[in-house]
């Protein structure tokens, strides 16, 4: 059976200076608010919030600029003058480096890799006759891989959306001071996951048959739920229902299944 590391993360603590500096990147004024669990700067134009260690969103910083809207494009306008993707990626890199935000260099037996994807996302407008593609926004996504397996969930990587200028309209970034090996678990093989899902679906009377479209392994960076703050392996499985009469394709469904079944260390001991 394959084994995978369960990683423990240690979310960073943000102080007044870092949260204020981040707010200044969008010229956000507001009141600085603090508890043991979080620090925030909230104003009429937007907010910056960070979950301190122990918070359910420990390590996650969210910045929202409410003065501008992603879809606030005058309908008569054909194109937005967006910031180019490379420039947006460079701004995110500079910002995260200067404020020491984002995934850290891992230690303690795990390997972290970061992949940056920056692109201009196109929308499509239809006037009743023709479809026109237009530049809607510039998105930067920093995907993190732990021992080669992607992290997924609300506390994973960096996500930034830009419009016309150099300050993001939305920014979410998770910062850990450390990522270290916590446990080793045996993981369910893909075939076993698929077999279990199909068997469960077959057991339901009257339901339409299903087939598996894809199954992929990831680490789930979800809300912190107490105890050690860990990244555990999960399977994401896409299931397709058979089409009903007169239907071209049936509805699909995404299912998240815990992949780790038992501690490999305990088994070994």
């Amino acid at each position: 059976m394959t084994t995978m590391t369960v990683a423990r993360v240690r979310p960073t603590t943000l102080d007044d200076d870092r949260i204020t500096a981040l707010a200044e990147t969008i010229s956000l004024r507001g009141e600085l608010l603090r508890t043991d669990e979080a620090i925030a700067l909230v104003g009429p134009d937007g907010a910056v919030v960070h979950g301190q260690p122990g918070n359910r969103m420990g390590g996650l910083t969210n910045l929202v600029d409410n003065r501008r809207g992603i879809a606030d494009v005058p309908p008569e306008t054909d194109q937005r003058r967006l910031i180019p993707a490379e420039k947006a990626a460079a701004i995110v890199a500079e910002l995260t480096e200067r404020l020491r935000l984002g995934p850290t260099v891992a230690d303690g037996g795990v390997k972290l890799d970061v992949r940056v994807d920056a692109r201009v996302t196109q929308g499509v407008r239809f006037d009743g006759k023709e479809r026109y593609a237009f530049d809607a926004k510039t998105d930067v996504r920093t995907r993190v891989l732990l021992d080669g397996v992607p992290l997924s969930g609300p506390r994973a990587g960096v996500s930034a959306t830009f419009l016309e200028d150099a300050s993001p309209v939305l920014l979410a970034v998770t910062t850990w001071d450390a990522v270290e090996a916590f446990d080793e678990v045996e993981v369910l093989e893909k075939d076993e996951v698929v077999e279990n899902l199909l068997a469960a679906a077959k057991g339901r009377r009257r339901a339409t048959p299903v087939e598996i479209v894809s199954a992929s392994l990831a680490y789930w960076a979800g809300p912190y739920e107490g105890g050690a703050d860990v990244l555990e392996p999960v399977w994401f499985v896409e299931v397709a229902h058979a089409p009903a009469k007169g239907e071209e394709a049936g509805p699909h469904q995404l299912v998240k299944i815990a992949a780790g079944v038992r501690s490999a260390r305990r088994v070994a001991a």
């Binding site: 608010l33 508890t35 669990e37 979080a38 925030a40 909230v42 104003g43 937007g46 907010a47 919030v49 979950g51 359910r56 969103m57 969210n62 929202v64 409410n66 809207g69 992603i70 879809a71 606030d72 494009v73 005058p74 309908p75 996302t121 929308g123 499509v124 407008r125 239809f126 006037d127 009743g128 479809r131 926004k137 996504r141 992607p150 992290l151 997924s152 969930g153 609300p154 994973a156 996500s159 959306t161 939305l170 339901r204 009257r206 339901a207 339409t208 299903v210 994401f236 896409e238 229902h241 009903a244 239907e247 071209e248 394709a249 509805p251 699909h252 469904q253 995404l254 299912v255 998240k256």
Partner: protein
């Protein structure tokens, strides 16, 4: 301004895989806006009480005028596909609210014709409904073919282009992003942290990014005509709301924007 809301959800499908969190998902939306934003809750129908008939246009034999048309914003959560969203098969009228071109190649067969009464926004927390391209009746029917004629004053449909997880929190998070209480809801903080309301579209994108896995993509489809700007809408009471887009004026357009999580 006071406003009205309605939600429908299905866990106990008799015709498709059961879901598990839709009552919390829709209930979270309903309770957030009723209890924390003064919204009037018109309906919260689940499982056998959630009907396709509540969404289907009266002109098509349904009773949308009596239900979804009366609310300013309606939230549905259950199964979805490019052709529509799904109900139990033993409830009126049938098991799917269908888009156009989904049962015949000549079109004009859709169930949704929304916006001649209150409704501005329809949030569909379901898989694939706003996928750009889809094969229907042997031909590619894009998101405009399938859903453009649903807009009869409706401002926006908010949904996903991909599959998405069955989760308990999207409804509450989306509602809190619109009413500004997302700081408290997302981080579990006291209300004195204050409010920061997002536009409806931005709130949908932010919710998807906050709740769903990284490979999921949300999307919005909104309509405009002369003098409107529905993409900039805030929820009532939190900022400007565009006038309704009206068909038959000098121009009318639909805009689709995706957002990767």
């Amino acid at each position: 301004m006071s406003y009205s809301i309605g939600v429908e959800w299905i866990n106990a499908y008799n015709n498709l895989n059961a879901l598990h969190h839709e009552h919390e998902d829709a209930g979270g939306f309903y309770d957030e806006l009723r209890l924390h934003d003064g919204a009037t809750g018109l309906f919260n129908w689940g499982d056998s009480a959630a009907w396709e008939d509540d969404f289907k246009a009266n002109a098509r034999g349904g009773h949308a005028d009596q239900w979804v048309e009366r609310a300013d914003i309606v939230y549905f959560t259950g199964h979805g596909s490019p052709s529509g969203f799904y109900f139990r098969s033993d409830t009126p009228d049938d098991s799917q609210v269908r888009g156009d071109f989904t049962s015949t190649s000549s079109g004009n067969d859709g169930d949704l014709r929304l916006g001649h009464n209150n409704i501005e926004w329809l949030a569909l927390e379901v898989c694939n409904t706003l996928q750009m391209d889809a094969t229907q009746q042997g031909a590619n029917r894009d998101v405009f073919d399938r859903w453009a004629d649903a807009f009869e004053g409706l401002h926006a449909i908010l949904s996903f282009t991909t599959t998405s997880l069955d989760l308990a929190n999207p409804g509450k998070v989306f509602a809190a992003a619109m009413d500004g209480r997302w700081i408290s809801v997302a981080y579990g903080l006291p209300d004195w942290f204050g409010r920061s309301p997002m536009r409806v579209v931005d709130a949908w994108f932010w919710m998807a990014q906050f709740c769903q896995p990284s490979d999921v993509e949300s999307a919005v489809l909104f309509a405009n005509s002369q003098g409107t700007n529905t993409g900039a809408d805030f929820l009532h009471g939190h900022g400007a709301v565009s006038p309704d887009p009206v068909r038959g004026q000098s121009w009318f357009s639909w805009t689709w924007i995706p957002h990767a999580c």
